[in-house]
Amino acid sequence: MKAARKVLGVALPAAWLAPRAALPAAVLLILGLVPVYAAATGDAFALTLFGRVVILAIAAVSLNLIMGYGGMVSFGHAAYLGIGGYAVGILWKEGFASGFVQWPVAIAVSALFALVVGALSLRTRGVYFFMITLAFAQMVYYVAQGLDRYGGDDGLTIGSRSSFAGLVDLNNATQLYYLCFALLLASLFLVSRLVNSRFGLVIEGARSNERRLRAIGISPFRYKLVCFVIAGALCGLSGALLANHTNFISPAMMYWTRSGDLIVMVILGGLGSLFGPVLGTVTYLLLEEALSRVTEYSGLFLGPALLLVAIFLHGGIEGLLGAGSRD
């Protein structure tokens, strides 16, 4: 599988012929053509729905970086969505409408939070790591609930989207969508370069056997921490996009079940495969949407479907496509 990923990451065009790359390529193509479809049919909702898919795919890609490659199962990843979103919302409320201020702040605060959480949590492992990341996310959730000036429990409606001095106009749905799409491609590129670097080798080595890594003279803690911070920053960016997409922020966007959704998306797509999280996000959100059109009780079908995936589908959708994606 090492070879497959290397092919995907470095020599991308040649690998497009491989069957395992065909589906990702097709999905990216479809995602790229959504605005064309929306313009042709006047179906504005498609753009909204897929905009959400693309934005949450960035979050899932960031979670996959730590969870799939690094073995750090964070059950508090939605906190970064919230922090990124609140950075945009709070700055807007305080009169800073420029995206050149909002987005770097969103990314920086998320990275800083990830640094603190990571520095404390990475001493623990397994289920304990899972729970401590959850604990930190819950803390942020309650802080957001306490922010009366920014809507408290009810959330805050953001009056205007981030402005970029005329470079891009986020009020134009198509431009917003393509910006998100470009950032998704960029984050896929970033992750593929990271995991194929020496840095990525250490991260994956730490997941499979930390003791051996120490034995050859590498202390994985700092590498894992850097990886954790990168994932947090990336997810913070996704949060900033989400706030722009919905024009709304509320504590609910970082409730623990949202973190659960993100984990579901990553596992559904295929843990530790570059493109898996995108497949997982597309599948999960579109399935949810399709079911809710057919029945009022979508969870009755979605829930058992997830259970069946957990029982039968080792390695998620990516695992179905060929060589298992888990080591």
């Binding site: 404390l120 304990y128 401590i132 803390m139 306490g146």
Partner: protein, 305 residues
């Protein structure tokens, strides 16, 4: 001072409910090594069953007993159908599968009982307050919760420490393979432990039901608190769960009751009103984070894990 004692009792009462939930969770975690996010759903089911059966039989006690039986059956059926294939799999598969179950149960409850929620009313005899010490009247029902939960805790202790089933449970917690190799029907044992956990969760749900409303998603918040409890107490340790549950219950309740006043003496009134609820909600998570940083195995680590 009276107010302080009253709030302490409230804290112990919350702690007792958390213990009922956490005891099952920690047994399931400790013995089957299963991360069960659907445990809160059983708590919710217990409350809904109790509200339904109590209305049906016109008796709180009868309704509660029927609800316990129904939750136990639900738990065991759930274990056989959905949980059993997940044993021995990576924890992430547990998260995915039981998260699916959580979605399923929320929707099932909405389908059967509707989105509105229910109330479970107490028998009139329970609605009085009793004088515990001169000047302090405390609602009888909350006192009953504390006493009944203590009795359940004692019963659980006797079952786990003094019976053959308990011996198998403890043996299963320390070495699963060995118990199976000695000819114990490990499948049946797992089903019974899961049923026991489900019953305890359902019991917590129905006891809490008259105080709060019975609604969809009521198990989600308290599930996370129960996870906090078992992490602080040490996974697999019932004694740890008991101590941690009371600590968490007290911190949560006392924080809410007294933090606003404490902060008000230091900050402006407005800042205190904004900060206090956030800080008191956060405090138990801070406690857990601190425990994990300094004692990663919890306060009472179960032996040989």
């Amino acid at each position: 001072m009276l107010y302080f004692i009253e709030q302490c009792l409230n804290g112990v009462q919350l702690g007792m409910l958390l213990f009922l939930l956490a005891a099952g969770l920690t047994l399931i975690f400790g013995i089957m090594d299963l991360v069960n996010l659907a445990h809160g759903s059983l708590y919710m089911l217990g409350a809904y069953f109790a509200a339904t059966f109590a209305a049906f039989t016109d008796s709180f006690v009868l309704g509660a007993l029927l609800a316990l039986v129904a939750t136990a059956i639900c738990g065991m059926v759930l274990e056989v159908i959905a949980i059993r294939p997940l044993y021995g799999r990576p924890h992430l598969d547990h998260v995915l599968g039981t998260f699916g179950l959580l979605l399923f149960f929320n929707e099932l409850v909405r389908l059967i009982w509707g989105p509105a929620g229910m109330t479970l009313s107490l028998p009139s005899a329970m609605l009085t307050a009793v004088q515990i010490i001169p000047g302090l009247y405390y609602p009888l029902y909350r006192l009953v919760i504390i006493l009944v939960a203590l009795a359940v805790a004692a019963l659980l202790y006797v079952v786990v420490m003094r019976t053959r089933l308990g011996m198998l449970i403890r043996a299963g917690a320390s070495n699963r393979e060995m118990v199976g190799a000695l000819g114990v029907n490990i499948k049946l044992l797992y089903t019974m432990v899961f049923g026991l956990g489900a019953t305890l969760a359902g019991f917590a749900g129905l006891m809490q039901a008259p105080i709060l409303t019975v609604q969809i998603g009521m198990g989600e918040n308290i599930l996370i608190l129960a996870f906090v409890v078992i992490i602080i107490g040490g996974i697999g340790s019932i004694r740890g769960a008991f101590v941690a549950a009371i600590i968490v219950g007290l911190i949560d309740t006392l924080g809410r009751a007294f933090l606003p006043d404490v902060l008000r003496s230091m900050l402006s009134v407005n800042a205190a009103l904004t900060l206090a609820p956030a800080i008191s909600s956060m405090s138990i998570y801070m406690l857990m984070a601190a425990v994990l940083v300094f004692r990663p195995e919890g306060l009472f680590p179960a032996a040989s894990r």
